[in-house]
Chain length 343, copies 2
Amino acid sequence: MRRQKEPAKNISIKHVAKLAGVSISTVSRVINKNSAVKGKNRTQVLEAVKQLNYQPSVFAQRLATGKSNVVALVIPRYEGIFYSFYALELIRGIGTLCEALKLDLLLHLTDTKTSFNLKGVGGIIFADLIGNKHQLEEALGSGIPTIVINNYVDHLEVNCIAIDNAGGAKNAVKYLIGLGHRLIAHISGDLITQAASKRLEGYEAALKENKISLPAEFIIKTDYSRGQARLAAEKLLKLSRPPTAIFTASDSMALEVMAVARELGVRIPEDLSIVGFDDNPSGLYGPVALTTVRQPLIKMAQESVRELSLLMGGTKKPITKKTILPTELIIRESCQSVSSSKN
Amino acid sequence: MRRQKEPAKNISIKHVAKLAGVSISTVSRVINKNSAVKGKNRTQVLEAVKQLNYQPSVFAQRLATGKSNVVALVIPRYEGIFYSFYALELIRGIGTLCEALKLDLLLHLTDTKTSFNLKGVGGIIFADLIGNKHQLEEALGSGIPTIVINNYVDHLEVNCIAIDNAGGAKNAVKYLIGLGHRLIAHISGDLITQAASKRLEGYEAALKENKISLPAEFIIKTDYSRGQARLAAEKLLKLSRPPTAIFTASDSMALEVMAVARELGVRIPEDLSIVGFDDNPSGLYGPVALTTVRQPLIKMAQESVRELSLLMGGTKKPITKKTILPTELIIRESCQSVSSSKN
DNA sequence: CAAAAAAATACAATCTGTGGTATATTTTTT
DNA sequence: AAAAAATATACCACAGATTGTATTTTTTTG
């Protein structure tokens, strides 16, 4: 168990300059623009840098240039395994690209009441705007390059990348219709979230397009929680004329529906088809693998960093860019065509 | 869609000083030590600060003081839902406390080959040392306060906080023994990880303490993956004299064992008791809730930030502190006493 | 009330870089 | 060979704070 010795006094650009026998500014030039300094001086500087193991102070650099290569990711502090997967997927995507682009990633967990400071941050990514619209406005007001992901923001001049929730939902329901289902119920998420309301929208659009009209009780609004999903499932399955298929606004709710069905002796997919949304790996662990709508999380994450780094680069004129990424229907075992369901 | 106007030129300490009619250093003193400046000057400075909405530049501060309040969390870049939960739990714990202590949290995803820079970082938390021992040594060499969590490091002078994997495993197995089980198998994780080898150790200790000796085939070593867990489960359950209980080194493997059991018609808990490790919420979603060993992730996370901030405070003498946190056995539905298992 | 002590404040150096400009040096052109 | 152009480097003024020291102001005290 050796004790680490105190590190020698920090070596600054001065020491390098002295050792190399050139001026400070020459060292600075060598380090920054490769072009300016050439020949013997350049070699000597590089040699000195290596010999002293010199690393410029980021703080001095940022102070001098006024630029920061720190990206702040602002993301809700929710709990739960489904959210964990989602959040970490985003973080991995963003983190990986930040690393590639030599950006530092600062993490900022928020809830509705956190007021944060953006001091020293060069760019901001808002994931999942929750009740914190004012934070976004503050960020925009500060002039720091900002981008919003997983929310389509149309009333503010800010780049955003969202997922085609409506389209994904519509496709899912069309798939069920294609299997012959007509009695298709929907368990929605919390409609104050954009995702949930768009998914409901997509569900309704698919029905309308196919001229299917259903009783109001076929749509049940929840807050995304397991508890409410359970209640919804029970209500639907005990209907005198129950649905033959249920589309839920999230995988977690779909799994809960499966659990309820199991308890009530309703077989999946023979008696009931289920489609979820998110493509959470949990959907694979049960007795019946869940058919679901996959969202391109990693792609969204990486795209956001790419766009942000462009904004941070600064020279570009800030054309506000709104992106919507397509989803993909992942067909597994939880759906069956209605004709074969009488087995 | 309003366009944000360019923010006014940054206001620095100078402007405040001028407006308040005092010197720059007086302003600085007001902002930092509350004591020095009093009376009218103090009031005027505070007034000016508010009026100009002055916020000191972190870079200048760090440059001047040589101190940084940035904490870097170095954590593996693994994927998968079980890891996601674990990692996000840690991140939430650390992030929350960082916020409380006014520390910035920098995230650093690593794999064995990433070489990272610790420039401008005031403290480092290593979570789950993977193949990156050299990174840890680099950190220690740099003199930056460092702490390791979820690994017990005894050969280096560094604070660490780990979980009592051996004790947790031992308790779990003792619980099974208490239920009357004697044929208890273990599916281990990747033994190059400390957690897995300690869990195996605890399993063996519990058996030894109760003078139970079992054939070698009752211990199966895996890499934590679902695939290998499946193979292990199949091998165990097809034994001529199969185990009546299985203790796995992780919940994910326990769930896989459950799936295999279901396929083979082995009832849980009637025919087979299962205990996992981790207390991952996924364990709650299946038909039978999993009995498991809970690790105090949040506590570990928060403790690490608390210790680190002390180290970063600096004045303290660096007494190396090694902490081991206890686990808790969470009893749910996946175990049954051996006598009642003949039903 | 003046002198001494204490407190408050201003000045200037420092932290470590960047970047514009002036000067010195080399290269190219005529 | 001289003039013009291009290039390399040094010098210096920043960036925005902190902090030790000198100085001024205030308070205390004999």
